[in-house]
């Protein structure tokens, strides 16, 4: 069968790709999607460890993470719509109200 370390390495690769996307992308919506990618990577590690330890706590945590991600997507996309309405652009560099 498949060792747990394979899953954890896949999870860390996906998390790293999520970090790269978060830093590299300029579109607010794509940045939100990279946050979802990082959450997914963490979920994979949770399920893998839950399976390896023979305990179900990890899977319950995954359910809570999914609930939080759903709430975050709802609020975050509301903020994205506000940004698009006020700035007429989805580029994060245009959102510089707090910049000195």
């Amino acid at each position: 069968m498949i060792p747990t370390s394979y899953y954890i390495i896949l999870s860390s690769i996906l998390f790293g790709l999520g970090v790269i996307a978060f830093i590299f992308k300029r579109n607010v919506i794509t940045i939100f999607m990279s946050i979802e990618l990082m959450l997914n990577a963490v979920n994979l590690a949770f399920v893998a460890f839950s399976r390896a330890l023979g305990q179900l706590d990890g899977q319950i945590f995954v359910l809570f993470v999914i609930v939080v991600a759903a709430a975050e997507a709802a609020v975050g996309l509301g903020i994205v719509i506000l940004i698009a309405r006020n700035r007429q652009s989805l580029n994060v560099e245009r959102v510089d109200l707090l910049k000195l």
Partner: protein, 167 residues
């Protein structure tokens, strides 16, 4: 190579390829579609680990609800190809090595760890959904109820944010 290992590598390649495509695509709708590929292949990996309920929730909530919301917002705002400036290239120069270092550090720590947990094989066996529901509604019932408040507040927040101001 055994069949589960082959399935794992196919699904892992799909997930990594989808994540790479998310970064490389310029148009947000293409990024969203490649993120759906990542989520569906992760659901397949959960099935491989014997976590059926999590796999179903992954497809219904992540692949269904959340990604439909993303695609809906992209189409509503008519989001076009993203523009790159000098600053974003600078962020790429600094960010990509940083993320690679983080990934390499985690992977090296895992491969060098002499832990029995990491060496333990993932046996995709027992149907755990019944145990999962028992645990969720006994030990984790208060957090579970609290999530309903969280979702209610998130709905109110989204409504307040998205409503048009009457001026």
């Amino acid at each position: 190579m055994s069949a589960p290992l082959l399935v794992f590598f196919v699904l892992a390649a799909l997930a990594v390829g989808g994540a790479l495509n998310l970064i490389l695509q310029k148009h947000p709708i293409h990024s969203a579609l490649s993120l759906i590929v990542v989520m569906v292949s992760l659901a397949g990996l959960y099935l491989l680990m014997g976590a059926e309920f999590v796999a179903a929730v992954q497809i219904i909530v992540y692949g269904g609800a959340i990604m439909v919301l993303f695609v809906f917002v992209i189409m509503l705002l008519n989001a076009g190809v993203e523009e790159h400036t000098n600053f974003s290239k600078l962020a790429g120069i600094a960010g990509i090595p940083l993320a690679l270092v983080v990934t390499g550090f985690i992977a090296a720590a895992i491969t060098h760890a002499n832990d029995t947990v990491l060496a333990a094989p993932q046996t995709g066996a027992v149907a755990a959904t019944k145990d999962l529901s028992t645990m969720l509604f006994r030990e984790f019932v208060y957090p579970f109820e609290l999530t309903s408040f969280l979702i209610l507040i998130a709905i109110l927040g989204a409504l307040v944010l998205a409503q048009r101001e009457h001026s």
